[in-house]
């Protein structure tokens, strides 16, 4: 297949999958089979694009032109390739996990769940491959809308309220800040294409540049930069597979991906020099503040959500430093955090399925009953903290190298402090699980590991987290290619 066909196939496959799932609604096994098949086919399809991209090709595709000069177009570049690989690859594992989770918890409306999930993936891939800001915005909004039914899946009052927060923050910021930023770029640059080195005219003054950057940053609330982060903990009301793939990988990474992409391909790192000090400070604040909230959260998913908020700001911080090494770190962290965090969420969902426990304080001694789950949790935790032999170490290494390059000691302080805090909110979970005795209440309710698909999925991602530490070749190569100006 030619590269154009591959792009089109990658975008249409999840849509076709969604249709198939909807039609097979009455037959659960067939429906799940279609989900898995689509996920595998999608990953295979995306994988085929890897070699051309690594070889320096940038295949593209233009669909239609809703506004004159502003087509809906796609172009695969290294950063998008990396994001697409992560999202589509983890969709396979997440589908296995979903089967176990939804069946184990006897969730309702499973067809709607799988359909929306497939649609979310289609939107995510379209974001990853978007060739201009208009296309990116189109699918950014689409992703908000198709994940809304997943967030409000349970249909309870709590879910409805969370849905309101989700929609109000994500849509409010994107309409109020991101859209005018995009139209402003179109107004002054006459294009919204992503080009290496940026597209903004040279005569633009530094003040306007700062305002525009702020509009982009606050408009991309999916990146959960404070003060627009509250939708993420609210979204935890969704079933855990949604929190795992969408609110640790696809949706939030779409946010930081947009930020990095805009900084590299719309502004260009050279143009931004000196304009990002406030951003470094704000990202640093978000990292520390979110870590502290995570430290005090007893609900496991809430703790993980705030950990995500803080980790997302690592990416923003790394990008805002503008050093080549830190930009590589930003791209790498999109991949490494994804693997680690999905493992942690898988573990949280596994505990919930087996025991219906949601609070950290209820987990005493659970490691003895659920060794696989808690071992995976441990690997994910190492990755979050940034210790070898987990993948998080690799991106943190580059990040710290970048910080030292720039001599930005404040940022270094933030990173070190947050490393300690993340150790402080993740390691006690492990301590409780493995070293505390089972509570009397737990002894009265014996249980074993979660269903097999769940254990399989979290073992796979934990293994992936380790593998990425040992073989970071492909993501690293893609991240470095991102900086090559043609």
């Amino acid at each position: 297949m030619s590269a154009e066909t591959l792009i089109l196939t990658a975008l249409l496959l999840p849509l076709a999958g969604a249709l198939g799932i909807a039609l097979a609604g009455r037959a659960p096994t067939l429906r799940e089979g279609i989900t898995l098949t689509t996920a595998v086919a999608l990953f295979a399809c995306v994988l085929q694009l890897l070699d051309p991209v690594l070889a320096g090709e940038r295949p593209g595709l233009t669909l239609i032109e809703p506004l004159p000069g502003l087509p809906i177009a796609f172009r695969v570049e290294p950063l998008g390739m990396l994001f697409a690989l992560v999202a589509s690859g983890l969709w396979i594992v997440n589908s296995i996990y979903s089967i176990g989770y939804l069946r184990g918890n006897r969730e309702r409306h499973q067809t709607r769940f799988y359909v929306c999930f497939a649609l979310s993936l289609a939107a995510t891939l379209a974001i990853a491959f978007a060739a201009n800001l208009l296309t990116l915005f189109l699918f950014y909004e689409a992703l908000t809308l198709v994940t809304y039914p997943l967030v409000t899946h349970s249909g309870t009052d709590k879910a409805r309220r969370a849905g309101r927060t989700y929609l109000a923050i994500l849509m409010g910021t994107s309409v109020l800040f991101l859209l005018p930023a995009i139209i402003y770029v179109w107004h002054i640059a006459g294009t919204t294409d992503f080009r290496a080195g940026g597209i903004l005219p040279a005569e633009m003054d530094q003040g306007d540049l700062g305002v525009l950057l702020a509009l982009f940053l606050f408009g991309t609330a999916k990146a959960a930069l404070m003060p627009f982060h509250r939708w993420l903990p609210a979204a935890m009301v969704a079933p855990t597979p949604v929190s795992a793939l969408l609110h640790a990988v696809a949706v939030v990474k779409a946010g930081v991906f947009t930020v990095v992409k805009v900084m590299v391909y719309v502004f260009g790192p050279e143009r931004l020099a000196g304009a990002t000090d406030w951003l470094i400070a704000l990202a640093g604040f978000t990292i520390l503040a979110a870590s502290l909230v995570a430290l005090s959260a007893d609900n496991l998913k809430r703790r993980l959500a705030y950990s995500t908020v803080s980790q997302l700001s690592y990416v923003i911080l790394a990008a805002a430093l503008l050093a080549p090494l830190s930009l590589v770190a930003a791209a790498l962290h999109i991949a490494t955090h994804a693997l680690g965090k999905i493992t942690l969420f898988f573990a949280a969902g596994s505990i919930y399925t087996a025991t219906h426990k949601t609070e950290v304080s209820q987990l005493d001694g659970i490691g003895r009953r659920m060794p696989w789950t808690m071992a995976a949790f441990g690997i994910g935790a190492l990755s979050m903290i940034g210790l070898p032999p987990a993948a998080g170490f690799v991106s943190k290494w580059f990040l710290i190298s970048g910080v030292m390059d720039q001599g930005h000691w404040l940022a270094l302080g933030v990173i070190l402090a947050s490393t300690l805090i993340s150790a402080a909110y993740l390691l006690p979970v492990l301590y409780r699980a493995f070293f505390r005795p089972l509570s009397a209440e737990a002894l009265a309710h014996p249980h074993g590991e979660a269903p097999l698909p769940i254990v399989l999925a979290l073992t796979l991602t934990a293994a992936g987290t380790l593998a990425l530490f040992l073989f970071p070749g492909v993501p690293l190569e893609l991240a470095q290619q991102m900086l090559v100006t043609q």
Partner: protein, 504 residues
């Protein structure tokens, strides 16, 4: 002369003749057949005229002389790109609403009045097409009265007794508006000695400072603003839309106010366009502030309505604010936004009102008359009527202006026009107001998708296909025109450039 040369006359005459014919035939289904055939013929003619305009060089005009009396003495029908664009919208909407109306009015209007409904709809269509196509100022007034009087009757046909009061109120306010318009036209006739709009435009430059011309502009502005429901002259609209039969609401919402906007554009840009009159009165500023008021006040009121039809009626007042806001910029991009939004809002809002018509059929008890679509009756609607509910959501997204829908295109141009003016606060205001639309559309989403249906109403009971198909055609159109805009945006840009370019 060949038939194709007579299309401009047939465009109006066919629907006009269908009305008395419907009255003579008297039988419901015969009247239906006649008026529907006329509407489809009008649609076909509008497309034919579109193709004829297409074949002309850029900014070309088809000029048709009624009774072969040459203008400026005789009445001239004048069709340019903008005319043709509005003709297609109006006749297309009639062609969709009529097939829908048969099943819809069967439940909403007593059997013996059906022929009256079709006759009045044919008449209203003829009036609206006439306003659009004519190049003669007095003719505009005559057709305006034809369309308005038939609209009053159509609204009064609603089953709810409050429809009569709503219709009466519309009659009073509409007549005041029409009087203002005729006074304005009178002044212009007095000063220029001509009723032909093109002729008037050529002569007005010489007397642009005279007081009667300024007075004419003021009278026309107020009169037309009443007709197009510019805030705060909109009071007739919410009740009229709420209590009229569903098919009537959908038709009027998509066409009547839009044709009034067309008349406003004609007078502002074609008649007064070449002169400096416009800048002697603070009209753009006035229009700007009233539009902003409409955006916020009307959309805000919409959020708190209990009746879904009323909610979307107020939303119409707000959305008209976007159209007039674009006009007030007095620039190519602003006018483009207005013209595109006139179309995009028309189809989205018609889709919603058609679907509400389907919805009241679904929530009615078997055999009983359809109740008002209040929110307590909408609980759990998505389970009973999935297609209807989902259609309202999609069309609602277009009202919000989500990318991928037609509403986004309008918003893009509106924001671009505001940026050009350097008015950053205005950009914020436009975008902030579109979030109010999220609030009212989401009220429906939460009621339909999250609340449990009342006991005994869990069963799926979708509306008949004759109601769903026309509505869904419009729903899909409001997505289609968000992605492929060569038709809508292409003509809007061409029109706007033509109208604004020869500005001093």
């Amino acid at each position: 002369m060949s038939l194709s040369a007579q299309l401009p006359a047939l465009q109006v005459v066919l629907p006009l003749l269908s009305a008395p014919l419907a009255v003579l035939l008297r039988r419901g289904w015969l009247a239906f057949a006649v008026v529907t055939a006329a509407a489809w013929a009008a649609f076909a003619i509008a497309i034919g005229l579109w193709l004829q305009v297409d074949a002309l060089p850029s900014n070309g005009v088809i000029s048709y002389h009624i009774g072969s009396w040459a203008p400026p003495w005789g009445i001239e029908y004048r069709i340019d790109r903008l005319t043709s664009f509005v003709l297609v919208l109006v006749s297309g909407m009639a062609a969709l609403v009529l097939p829908y109306s048969r099943a819809s009015i069967a439940r909403e209007i007593p059997q013996e009045s059906h022929y009256l409904f079709y006759a009045m709809l044919g008449l209203c269509l003829a009036g609206l097409l006439g306003i659009t196509i004519t190049g003669d100022a007095f003719n505009v007034f005559v057709f305006l009265e034809i369309s308005s009087l038939s609209a009053y009757v159509l609204i009064a046909l609603g089953r709810d007794r409050r429809a009569l009061a709503a219709s009466y109120r519309y009659l009073i306010m509409g007549s005041i508006g029409a009087t203002f318009i005729v006074i304005g036209i009178g002044f212009l006739y007095l000063m220029t000695g001509t009723l032909n709009l093109a002729d008037m435009a050529a002569r007005i430059g010489a007397i642009e400072s005279s007081r009667p011309v300024l007075a004419a502009l003021a009278f026309l502005t107020v009169g037309i603003s009443l007709k197009l429901a510019l805030f705060p002259l909109h009071q007739w609209l919410p009740n009229a839309y709420t209590y009229a039969p569903s098919a009537v609401t959908a038709f009027l919402a998509a066409t009547a106010t839009k044709v009034s906007v067309y008349v406003l554009i004609r007078f502002y840009f074609s008649v007064f366009g070449d002169s400096l009159v416009f800048h002697k009165l603070p009209l753009p500023q006035l229009m700007l502030w009233l539009s902003l008021l409409a955006l916020f006040a009307a959309s805000f009121i919409a959020i708190f309505q209990d009746n879904l039809k009323r909610l979307f009626a107020y939303s119409s007042v707000g959305q008209i604010g976007y159209i007039t806001l674009g006009l007030s910029f007095d620039s190519v991009n602003g006018l483009t936004a207005s013209i595109v939004h006139l179309f995009n809002h028309g189809i989205a809002k018609a889709a919603i009102f058609l679907l509400i018509g389907a919805l009241v059929v679904g929530i009615a008890r078997p055999g009983a008359a359809p109740p008002a679509p209040t929110f307590d009756r909408l609980a759990g609607l998505a389970r009973r009527m999935p297609l209807t509910s989902f259609g309202i959501v999609i069309a609602g997204l277009s009202l919000i202006g989500v990318p991928g829908t037609a509403g986004f295109i309008s918003k893009w141009y509106l924001v671009l026009a505001a940026l050009e003016k350097g008015q950053l606060w205005l950009v914020g205001a436009i975008l902030l107001s579109s979030l109010l639309a999220v609030a009212y559309v989401w009220r429906f989403v939460e009621a339909a998708y999250f609340q449990a249906p009342p006991p005994g109403r869990e069963l799926k009971r979708e509306a008949p296909l004759s109601l769903l198909i026309p509505a869904w055609v419009l729903v899909l159109a409001s997505v289609w025109f968000g992605l492929d805009t060569s038709l809508t945006l292409g003509s809007a840009v061409e029109v706007a450039e033509g109208l604004v370019r020869h500005r001093p």
